[in-house]
């Protein structure tokens, strides 16, 4: 677990792994974390939309976050994890490899995304920071939902 300097207001982030990379999102946008259950595929959906699952009676779309970021497409197994996030009033399940940590962080610790990352990654990554020798990317969830963006594609 990680502590930052005491005085600045810290916010809590939830860190997770996709492949060998680590990302995090604001903990407030995550509603729950659950194991993978087989999704019902949707016709003609973008490749990163795995389908829909039943979340206590609601129909929840599942986004393969690795595929969305242009990293890896993984065939989900029981070990994969779905983070149920609330994005712009909608509930969306984000498929990740594993949830790794809860991090407290001040805004000052976050650096701008270096110019080296690919366009697709830079569109979603708000910034990066180092923690215990690991590099973690802070994600912006608003852009992940396949809304108008995907419909145009």
């Amino acid at each position: 677990m990680s502590d930052t300097s005491a005085n600045a207001p810290a916010r809590e982030l939830i860190a997770f792994r996709i492949g060998d990379q680590e990302f995090c999102v604001d903990i407030m946008s995550v509603r729950e974390i659950r194991g993978w259950t087989p999704a019902t595929p949707l016709p003609r959906a973008p490749g990163f939309v795995k389908g829909v699952i039943n979340l206590r009676g609601a129909v929840l779309p599942i986004i393969d976050l690795g595929a969305r970021l242009g990293l890896t497409t993984s065939e989900p197994t029981a070990r994969h994890v779905i983070m149920v996030a609330s994005i712009g009033g909608r509930s969306v399940g984000l498929l990740v490899d594993a949830v790794s940590d809860i991090i407290q962080l001040t805004d000052e610790a976050v650096q701008a995304t270096p110019e080296v990352a690919s366009e697709q990654v830079r569109a979603f990554v708000k910034g990066i920071f180092a923690i215990e020798g690991r590099m973690v990317s802070l994600l912006e969830l608003e852009w992940l939902v396949p809304d108008t963006e995907a419909e145009a594609a």
Binding site: T40, P43, R44, G57, V59, R90, S91, V92
Partner: protein, 727 residues
Amino acid sequence: MTAADPFEAIKGVFFQECEELLGDLESGLLAMETGAADDETVNAVFRAVHSVKGGAGAFGLDDLVRFAHVFETLLDEIRSGRKPCDDVTVKTLLRAADVLADHVAAARGQGAPVDPARSAGLVAELETLTHGDAPVAAPVVQAPEPEADEFGFQPVVFDMAAFEPAPAAVEAEAEVGRWRVVFHPHSQMYAKANETGLLLRELSRLGPVAVTLDQSALPDLAELEPEVSCLSWAIEVETSAGETAVREVFDFVEADCDLSVRPAQDAATVTEAAPAEPELDIAALLARAGVEAAAPEPVLAPAPVPATPELAAPAPFAAQPAAPATPTPVTIRVDLERVDRLINVVGELVIQQAMLAQRVSESGLIRSSGVTAGLEDLELLTREIQDSVMAIRAQPVKSVFQRMPRLVREVADMTGKKVRLITEGEATEVDKTVVERLAEPITHMIRNAIDHGLETPDDRLAVGKPAEGVVRMVALHRSGRIVIEISDDGRGINRSRVRGIAEERGLIAADAALTDDEVDNLIFLPGFSTADAVSDISGRGVGMDVVRRSIQSLGGRISISSTPGKGSIFTLSLPLTLAVLDGMVVTAADQTLVTPLTAIVESLTPRTEDVHHVGGHDPVIRFREQFVPLIDIGVAMGFRDAPLTPGTGVAMVVETESGARAALLVDAIQGQRQVVIKSLETNYRHVEGVAAATILGDGRVALILDVDGIIANARRKSARPDFKLAS
């Protein structure tokens, strides 16, 4: 004024009440028109207009008040017997009710403002009728308009004035009757600023009264709850006005009191049998005062407060066989949103229950175990909860049915035909949304029945039928659906003409072999209209295809059966609710999908030789002398690339809302099931070819096919065969 919110809320309630009142008004007027009205009907009509006016005054809706006032004035003349109620008058009243409804709609912000000329014209008509041939009739004292206070539209005050002329008008006729009134006000009555004293005074205007106070329920001073009512009164009144008039005195407090009105002779024994009245001298005093002064208020003074505890009240009242006044059902108004939330949660409960049952059975528990028995009980309970919750949204079709008599009259007048409308099963209940969306198709069908179905009176007489045609509208429940039948005893469908038109418009081939039924059903094809000349009534460019589309959009079906010379019957069959759907569960490319049952015409197993290819690709299948496109669902939904090999799978022949047919090829049909409809749009977006989603017993999401979308899509694709959808 500053407290906008509660005020708006009260206003909302007022408009809701207006809807009901306008409904009562209309049905009352219609009863008056057919002569089925008694005094009570006329009074109800008067009260409806009066209540609208009272509320409108409270909200400063001046246009509405002015119109309602003129309307009400005439009605008051009629109900007091000073003005005869003839045919012309009722027709005017009916039109006035229309304008009143328009005024209400305008005040509500729905619909256009009322045409001032039309309104003024009717005002003039109403005034002529009021004053015209009854010059003596003094203008009715207009009530002070109720203040816009919390109880905005309690139009209590006016009624007193309105009743004043009543005894004078009827005094001469009718024999004098003695009525025994037992009146026990509830605390709420006082809370609404009504007073027993005023009511008793009002009663005394009907004739001499003898009032007895029953204070036996009054507790000791120490136990006295000042705001609880426990006094009651027994009043004997001698009047020629009749029971109705006596009851009317209590009209506005009826819901807040126990009231019984009986002929005094009957009650005489009761009086003797009720020795519970201990304070005889006070009773006598009251009686005397009641007769003399007709103002019992001072007499009431000895009692500490007019409202006193109710704690002991039931005891003396139980001793009296005083029947509760009118058993009006108690209702509450609830936000539709709350009901819908409840329906959603119950839908989830049903799914959860089904999942649990499936898990338990998978876990291999023996059937006789307590768990299985408990689960069965749970299932029964869940179904019961679901049914009860659905019943909350259910409404009688009456609101639609009662609009039709006016329509029938108008269309009959326009076409010069004589029509009698018979309605049955008005109390049949169905989902609110279904009720609301039924009005238009039914209107259209009734119009058609009169315009196209019925013959002119002369033609009818010529073929030995009575001059008056009958249109019958029946609603009933049948196997979990609501069925509405609209029939006429007219000439029936002219099949050769229907066929001719269909051929002429290229809807069918000239040599097509069609059964009578199939010919009848041609009228549902888009753009079909059988009127010789486009008439004002039904020739509006919309035909039965529009009716069918709106019925189908509700998950319903429509069919016709017709006998030449005897008439036609249109049958609508609709689901009772829109929250669940009857579906056929099918498998295609390992995916479980649901096809709406209403779309399916028939299913068949295609043989290899039945499938043909138009122009090398685009498979079609022969179905009853007709080639329909064969769509492989697995491919259409993008679940697989190659279609099923011919000769395998099952084809469902489906029909779109526009009447186009196609066969959907799936791997297998699992069976029929009722499913709860879940939106995909809530968390995702619309998906082409998918109408909605549902959750099956195994907890998985299954997609509900959008049959129209799939067929339209397939048609687009075959029009551009080299166009490939990116997947």
